[in-house]
């Protein structure tokens, strides 16, 4: 075990997998940085510092710095994947799926199916997502639910450095396209990461972060830490919460969710995206349909309102879920009918 930052877990895992498998290729804007400048390559190593040293180690054919052309980046990842490579494409902000969704949704996600299963498409799209930086409406979104809605994609939402390592390695070795959602506000988070260079976490296995019998709190990405804080606060009052980190939203660990709700009978879902047709309502519907008999209270979602992400500190703060809002929701479901 070593104590590393979330961002370094991203970098180190890719680096090691690139050493291990020469088919792993990285591409994106400024993933090298400094190309065509007096300062020269590696001036930055990724705008999020997640590819430092890659260019030096693996050269321009495996660390491909691209123009600002997201459709070409994701499309190229598709072509690389169909040609036997394992591309890892970086979208500097998840919001940029807007300019390349076709390549994600209609191409990469569908090749295997449209081609009758005769090909695999091991492409990873790293999406740096989420709010917390006052980056406003076009640089703060959490399109996890939108991507989860798309058949053919696997969607991964790590919340800790260890999960980054285990899930990213799994993603790189997976034969299906994977959306890897990295929360920008978690990049500085430190945590223990196993030293094992084969450490993988299978998809579809949620993580129980807190255990309790009164309520189930479902969360992913940055919402996990908030849910934990809320749970800790509630614990002081003797309220026990199962906090479940989904880890992957597609596949979804339905079993872990349903097992917990069968015990608690009450569920609060926390999500960073607006409420409509979201991951939050997806999970509420899941428990409503499949754990109906166990439910002692309506499943409740804690999400931002149905608005774009606002800029100002006060506004973004009011917009986002937080431990207080989660706690309030838990108290609401606990108060129901009792």
């Amino acid at each position: 075990m070593a104590r590393v930052m979330y961002r370094d877990a991203v970098r180190d895992t890719i680096f090691k997998e690139m050493q291990r498998d020469e088919n792993v290729v990285v591409l994106g804007e400024d993933v090298v940085g400094g190309m065509g400048t007096a300062g020269g390559p590696e001036a930055i190593g990724g705008i999020w510092s997640t590819s430092g040293g890659f260019y030096e180690a693996f050269g321009p054919d495996r660390v491909i710095d691209t123009p600002i052309s997201e459709s070409a980046i994701v499309g190229a990842a598709g072509g690389l994947a169909l040609s036997g490579k394992r591309p890892i494409a970086e979208l500097m902000f998840a919001d940029f799926i807007g300019v390349c969704l076709d390549q994600i949704w209609n191409q990469i996600a569908k090749f295997r199916y449209m081609f009758g299963g005769k090909t695999k498409c091991p492409a990873i799209i790293r999406c740096i997502y989420g709010a917390g930086y006052n980056a406003a409406a076009q640089h703060s979104q959490a399109p996890t639910g939108i991507l989860t809605s798309m058949p053919g994609l696997k969607v991964v939402v790590p919340s800790t450095p260890a999960d980054v390592a285990g899930l990213l390695r799994q993603a790189i070795r997976d034969d299906d396209p994977v959306i890897f959602m990295e929360h920008k506000a978690l990049y500085g988070l430190k945590g223990e990461v196993p030293d094992d260079d084969d450490y993988t976490i299978p998809f579809g296995h949620a993580r129980l972060c807190r255990a309790g019998e009164d309520v189930t709190i479902l969360a992913s990405g940055m919402m996990v830490g908030m849910a934990e804080k809320a749970a800790d606060k509630l614990a002081e009052d003797g309220v026990g919460a199962d906090v479940i980190d989904l880890r992957t939203t597609s596949p979804l660990d339905e079993e872990a969710i349903l097992d917990s709700v069968e015990v608690t009978g009450r569920v609060v879902v926390v999500d960073e995206a607006p409420p409509r047709c979201s991951l939050a309502t997806d999970l509420c519907a899941l428990v409503a349909e499949k754990a109906f008999a166990s439910l002692k209270a309506p499943p409740v979602a804690v999400t931002p309102p149905h608005t774009p992400v606002p800029f100002a500190r006060e506004l973004e703060g009011a917009y986002l879920p937080n431990p207080d809002k989660i706690e309030a929701a838990v108290r609401k479901v606990l108060a129901y009918n009792s």
């Binding site: 691209t66 123009p67 499309g75 072509g79 690389l80 390549q103 081609f115 009758g116």
Partner: protein, 323 residues
């Protein structure tokens, strides 16, 4: 370049297979037996074959909604394709893709594509893979005159230049995107190749109804790209004999236009005249091919008609599912 007798016969056979495949589909579609949208390639055969005769299975190709010709030229199985178009589970894509999504990755055919402009970026990825493999292979995309207005196509061209990818952008200018004329939609007096040129690419232009012009141009460009000089683009002037899709009333055509292009711009006719005129092949050689091809197509249709149909369970296969 002087082609051998065998080469010539093979080229002719491939073009003829495409032609008859499409002419037959045109008939079969009227019967209502074939589902979905079908875009016929008839008229453009010399481009697909002239380009692909220069490629190997290790060279990759990405195609369009009008993909039958490219698939056949790249070596996809005639029967497998016919079955796919018929929606059989024995089809090349098990009946899941249909006309617009035929692929055979083993043959280097990375798929027809229903999204106009989507192919070029994918092709650049395949070219980058080829570059990485270092064996001198290339990747080729076909794009229409309409597709050359889609942002993805431009991005792909610039990206290929930046990354020096062994990528060849083949533009088939058949003068129409759906019902719109190229004069309108490519809003410039400059041609499509000029756009590629502005990205800093080597470009070439040729008559796409002349197999030999296509073949030679492609050969030259291919040598340049295989040698590691970066990407290139070719614009071929060609003709589409049928409507945009099957059912298109084609009111945008000029009077007599269809007759004229069938008469003056038929690549198969031109090929025949050229090789028999130059005494490279006899008319009888070609007639024999014609006969064989007709029989092959007839057989493929019979096969497709009687091939196994997919079942409801098949829906859930060939994709990762969890819900």
């Amino acid at each position: 370049m002087q082609l051998s007798r065998d080469d010539l016969l093979q080229a002719y056979r491939r073009m003829k297979i495409i032609r008859e495949f499409e002419e037959r589909l045109h008939e079969e579609i009227q019967t209502g037996e074939i589902a979905g949208f079908t875009h016929l390639y008839c008229g453009q055969e010399a481009v697909a074959v002239g380009v692909c005769e220069n490629l190997t299975d290790d060279d990759k190709l990405v195609s369009t909604h009008r993909g039958h010709g490219h698939c056949l030229a790249k070596g996809c199985d005639v029967s497998g394709m016919m079955k796919e178009i018929w929606g059989s589970r024995e089809g090349l894509c098990k009946g899941k893709g249909g006309s617009m999504h035929i692929a055979d990755v083993d043959k280097g055919m990375l798929g027809a594509n229903g999204i106009v402009g989507a192919g070029a970026p994918i092709m650049v990825g395949a070219a980058l893979a080829a570059k990485l493999n270092g064996k001198g292979n290339v990747a080729v995309s076909f794009s229409g005159d309409g597709a050359c207005n889609q942002g993805t196509t431009f991005e792909a061209m610039n990206m290929a230049v930046v990354t020096k990818a062994p990528a060849i952008f083949v533009f088939e200018n058949n003068h129409y995107s759906e019902h719109t004329g190229v004069e309108y939609a490519v809003g410039t007096e400059k041609d499509i190749a000029s756009r590629a040129e502005a990205f800093g690419m080597k470009v070439a232009r040729a008559d796409g109804t002349d197999f030999f012009a296509v073949h030679d141009t492609m050969r030259e460009i291919l040598e340049y790209v295989r040698a590691g000089n970066g990407p290139a683009a070719i614009e071929f002037d060609t003709e589409r004999f049928f409507g945009h899709f099957e059912g298109d009333p084609q009111r945008y055509r000029g009077k007599g236009e269809l007759d004229r292009i069938r008469e003056e711009r038929d690549c198969l006719k031109k090929f025949r005249e050229s090789v028999t005129g130059a005494k490279l092949l006899e008319g009888a050689d070609l007639d024999k091919v014609d006969e064989e091809v007709l029989a092959q197509i007839e057989q493929a249709v019979q096969d497709a008609r009687s091939a196994a149909r997919p079942t409801a369970e098949d829906v859930l296969e060939d994709v990762y599912i969890s819900y």
